[in-house]
Each structure stands twice: as C-alpha cells, then as structure tokens.
Symmetry: C2
Subunit: 392 residues, 2 copies
C-alpha cells in the first residue's frame, strides 16, 4: 500500500426531509449571507427551493440566488456567481442540485477568494489557497462531488473541460435525501449510476499490489450498484434502492475506496472530450468509453480483469484460460450498461467517428498519461475506435 | 435505510515514517502545549516516543508527558492526566499507543474541559460539551478509536467499564504507520483482528431491511480480515498485510459501514464485563462471547446468518435447509478465531463458569437491550453458558 492522507470532513445529513435542516446547518458552519446556487428549474418546480429558502428564513439567514447552472457547468456562470458574491458580501455558498451545480459552487467559492481569473485554478496556473464554505443539497446520485474536493468546469470558448482539487472546497455539509431523486427520469438515473461505477473502476484498476481492503471496498460499491440500479430503473420511486445508490455515490468518490493505490482516470479524461464536444451527459459518455478502454488495456493485467468478472459480475473463473473470464467480465459490464438504458457506441451517443482526430487533439495528452496503463494519443484514438462500433 | 448523520473529520496520515510529521500536524491543528500520553513502555523501548518528541521539538512545540496507560484504561490515570493538563496549561493531547491509550486521551481531553468529575461523562450523568483537540499515533490495529468519537474507561472501584461518545472527542489527526505494528506479538495481533471483526459484526446483524451498500461494505472489511490476519500471524513483519488490516480497522469503526441501520452491540456489552472482571484482552473476550451470541440469536434471522456464511466464509448455500448454512457460518467464524490463536471458551480465556451470575449482575441489563435481538439477564446467562463450554 502506498502512503496516503485521507481527509473527508464533510458532515453528511442523510434521509427523508433533511433539506429542512439547511438553515441550522448553514448557521452551524458560520454562514450569515448565502448564495443559493441551482440549476435549470427542476428544483423550483419541485418546491425544493422553497423549502430550502424557508429553512434559511426560519433561522434568519439572508440569501441571494443564482440559478441556471447547465450540465457540464460553464465558466460564464461561475463569473456571474463570483460577481454576485462580491457585490452582496456573500460568505457561504449553498448548492441545491447535482454534481454540475456543486462543481459550479466550488468554482465560485474558490474564485471569490482568488485575486485574479478563477480559470487559473483550473488551467493549473494557480492552486486554491482559500475558499468560501460550501454546503450542498444533492438532487442526483452521480458525481460524488458532495463528498469530494474536486470540481470540473467547462470553458465555453473552445469547450475546454478542466478540473481542480483541494480540501478547501470540500463541502462543510451535504444533505442527501434520496426522496429528491425519486422523480429523476430513467436516463438521468442510468447516467448517474454509470458515473458512480466509473469512479470506482478508475480506482479499481491499479498497479499497486496487495491492496485487499480497497479492492473489497470497491467491489462492495459495484455489487451494490449492480443490484440496485435495475431496481430504480424498474421503479423510480423505490426509496430503499435510491438510498443505497445515494450513499454508494458518496462512498465511490470521497476516496475511501481508493486511498493508497495508484489510480487510472484515463476513461474520465477521454470522456471529458466527448461531453465537451457533444455536450452529452458525462455518465453516457463514460458508458461508451469505459468498456472500450477495458478492451484496449485488459492484457496489461488479465488476472485483475478476471477478478472483476468473478467477484463483481459473478462469472465462473476459467482456470484454463483466465483471459476468457477477463473478456467475459468486460462484456458483462457493457451489457449491464445497455440494460440500464445507456448508450454503448458512438451512434447511440450521438458522436461521430470522423471527430476522433479532433477529440484526440483536444485531449492534449502530454506524452503518456494514466495510472494503470499510460496512453499515447494513438492509443486514445484506438480506444475511441473500439467505442465507436461497440455492440452488446 | 434509516435517517442518519455521518461525520468523520479526522485527517488520516497513513504510511511508513509518518510519525515524523507529528510536530507539523499538532501545529496545523492549533496545539502549542502538548500532553504526550502513552502506555506501558513499548513506545519508549522501540524509539517511537523519541521520534515523536523530536518531531515536536523540531516545530518548537512544548510538551508534558504521562505514560503508564493500562489495557482496559483506568479512571485513576485519567484523573492524573487532567491534573497535569490543568497545571501545565496543555492545549492538545497527543496519544501514542493503541485503543486504550486513545480512549484515556479522550477522557482527559473531555475531562479537562468539564467542570466536575469526568466520570459523569461515562456514567451518563452529563454529556461532552467541550474537549481539547486530540491527535493520535496508532500502534495497534484494533479498537478503531483513532477514527471514532467513542471512548471506554474502567472505574477501578468495582471495575466498572463504561463508555461515552461525542464528535468533540474525534481525533483531529491520526497517524497510521503499519510498520509500528510489525513487532506486535501474535496474540495481541489476533486480539486486535478479533476486535475489528466484532465491530463489523455488531453492525452487520441488523433488523433494517434493504441496506445493501452497508452490508457489502461490512463484508468487504470482514473478507479482508479473513485474508490478511493469517498472513500476519504467519509473518508478523508482512507490511502489506499489516497495512490492509490497519486501514480495515479504521473503516470498521468510524461508522461508514454501519450508518442508516440498527446495530446490536450486545456482544460488546457482555464482553466488557468479562474484561472488567478478569482484565483479559477485549479481543480475547470477544472471541469467546461473539460466536456464542451468534448461536443464541441466529434463529431470529436465519437468512442473514446464511448470508454471512456464504458471502463472508465462502460456504455453499444449503437451499433445502438454510439453517445448516447459518450454523456452518458460525462454526467457521469460531474456527477462524481459534486458528488465529484466540481463546474460544472460558477455560482458554481464564474465566470461571461459577462467575456467570456475577457477570450478569454487573452488566446491569435494564430490562432488555440490543438492537438485533433484545436480551434479558437470563439470555445473557445462557450466552455465557454457551461460551463457557464452546469447542471448535
């Protein structure tokens, strides 16, 4: 096991009706003037925003608000938020939405405290040194941003998708009420589930040996997703299944399942270019990229892929030919994604094969990248070609 | 899933040589005058205490010290610590040792800030309202106290073992260096492993339905312990196995595997009376009590015990008679404990059957207690009788 630090100081407030505690929670973590940041109106229609406001008002906490965060959140909205915070002396960001909204909130929180263009923090010109405190009310189980120190923002000019990370932008609290996800359409639910599974697989495929505890924890999350996702696709209002997925989504990405081991993250890197170019859902892009990545790299460690097939997808080990088991596991993963309504090739995603050179160029691979198997630009092209024509 | 809050703000600093960062860590969390609290001298002999002191000195952090914490830590040592802290204006407790040392440190940290007898916080006359910040350098994987808000102290008068819990006594940081555990004798290693497994089983046996994610996370920790414990018993210096066990010990008890579900904790309650009376190791007592508790309660939920047998101990499911599988799982657990050198009956533990009435009386069961199966005093007696004569 490699040396590591693990720090996840977020207070998770989980369960039915917990959004009504927002006011108390903001006060507990020192907020006096809040920016409520939200997305495209579903939180307005559902009445969630009103409940959050009522909770703040009950505690006498003042607020400004900024809606309109898009999926693949944009720099333009972040600039808008920073301006409001400065003008209104905001000292706390309350994010009401999914991963995009939380990531946008994190960018605002750090941007307000940064003396310069916040994009510097994403283009790696500077690192986060200070940020306003953040709280979240999560509305979709997917990104894990509610428990992580990461944020991904898309620069509209050139649709560049870039990320930053710091313990300073970890939420102080996150309200996780599974009821809020019971109205999500099947497609968004499937995208979220795929994102959660991908967060685990990026950690599962490692070159670090003898990491049984994190292997088993990764498998725990994946086994849960395999059981619970079809249940919510079949019955979106299944609270218990939603609850299991919501907690799994946090566990998948606060890094408790990934500490002390090398991680890969190339599938995420490749997918960011797909959603950057086509503005598709991140989870949908991952469903197309990740099994293709697996097919391209599995020979690097056949036994690890066989372990995935046996322990996660319940396949019988082929002791005479482990490679068969490895391939069967990858097929099972793609089949699972297809069954939960995810696209598995370019046609289904709305991507074009002729864009592959553009995608590779945009990814801007500096030499070789990736913790499990380093990829050169030509490797990325090959993975995208596998992805383009994939079938179940 | 039940509503819950989960809050684990400790910074875990894991890996080789990390104790040398103590000075920086204490400063980071605001300590200027430290009480170094430790046990019976092994940290002196090993040179660990010197390294910790050197690290504090390097950062210009002053310290007092108090050694001599015993296993099943005593109230008398806590009073001593409180007095030193007040006299020396200590503002940070640094615990260098195992669970007993950390629990004693927590009692001191809370006691210094409590205007009255600290025992009130353990006899439930009062709750922790304030505490000095705590850091730990862990020397044995067992209690999970390095990542929990719990503490157990024994009052010498009457050997009463009582606990308290508060987020205020969660450590600010915990240094987990598996190297420090490589010199532990096999018996202590086995006791620690048993404690870790028991922490998970207390959570695993629940009446809450459809909690797949925490079920699977519990199983992940247990599967890890089953793989890694025999490896360290066979080769105490196996760093990788020690590392897996050390992280598993934290995960087992900061409650990430137990949130949102009813938990039991009767085996711990019963064991506290054993170690209270005989001053045996907590893990050894659990090895005797827990399989006996399982035998007494398994009919309450045969399928859950069958799940344990299949998923954790790799048994084949007997679909015609699941009870056989359930019983096979319990047998496998006791056999495993015996194989790692644990006592499994009263004779091996050094306990006496004629003390059972005393043990039951001391446990002071107020009516019925326990989250999985409530137990009356006569049930506790029956469990102790099963434990007394158990064989592999």
């Amino acid at each position: 096991m490699e040396n590591f630090n693990f720090y996840s100081p977020t207070e998770f407030v989980f369960g039915k009706g917990r959004e009504n505690e927002c006011g108390q929670l903001v006060k507990k973590y020192g907020g006096t003037k809040v920016l409520i940041h939200y997305g495209q109106g579903s939180v307005v229609k559902s009445g969630l925003l009103d409940r959050v406001k009522a909770s703040l008002e009950k505690e006498g906490v003042a607020y400004a608000e900024l809606g309109g965060v898009q999926p693949n959140p944009r720099d333009t909205k972040v600039y808008e938020g920073i301006e409001i915070c400065k003008k209104e002396n905001v000292d706390f960001i309350l994010s009401v939405g999914g991963g995009s909204c939380i990531d946008s909130s994190k960018a605002i929180a750090a941007g307000v405290c940064y003396d310069g263009d916040f994009w510097d923090l994403y283009s790696k010109k500077a690192t986060v040194q200070k940020a306003l405190p953040i709280g979240t009310v999560l509305t979709i189980a997917a990104a894990g941003s509610e428990g992580s120190g990461g944020s991904v923002i898309t620069k509209e000019e050139g649709m560049l998708k870039r990320d930053t990370g710091s313990d300073l932008i970890r939420p102080k609290f996150s309200v996780l009420n599974p009821e809020l996800t019971c109205t999500l359409p099947a497609y968004q639910t499937g995208c979220g589930a795929t994102d959660i599974m991908a967060h685990v697989f990026e950690r599962y495929f490692t070159n670090t040996k003898e990491v049984e505890i994190t292997d088993r924890l990764c498998e725990a999350v994946l086994l849960t997703m395999i059981k619970e996702t079809p249940r919510v696709i079949a019955d979106p209002s299944n609270y218990e299944a939603r609850a299991n997925i919501m907690w799994a989504g946090m566990v998948a990405h606060n890094d408790i399942v990934g500490v002390g081991r090398s991680q890969d993250w190339n599938s995420h890197g490749i997918e960011h270019e797909l959603s950057g170019l086509y503005d598709c859902a991140h989870g949908a892009g991952l469903a197309v990229v990740m099994p293709a990545w697996m097919e391209f790299v599995y020979k690097h460690d056949v036994m690890r892929f066989a372990q995935m097939a046996v322990r996660i997808f319940g396949k019988e080990m082929d002791f005479e030919n482990p490679e068969n088991t490895a391939k069967e596991g990858i097929r099972a993963f793609r089949k699972f994604l297809s069954e939960i309504g995810m696209p598995i090739n370019f046609a289904q995603l709305g991507a074009k094969k002729e864009d592959i050179p553009t995608l590779v160029k945009k990814m801007d691979v500096q030499g070789k990248t990736g913790g499990f198997v380093p990829l050169a630009p030509e490797d990325v092209a090959k993975i995208l070609e596998i992805a383009a024509d994939a079938t179940v």
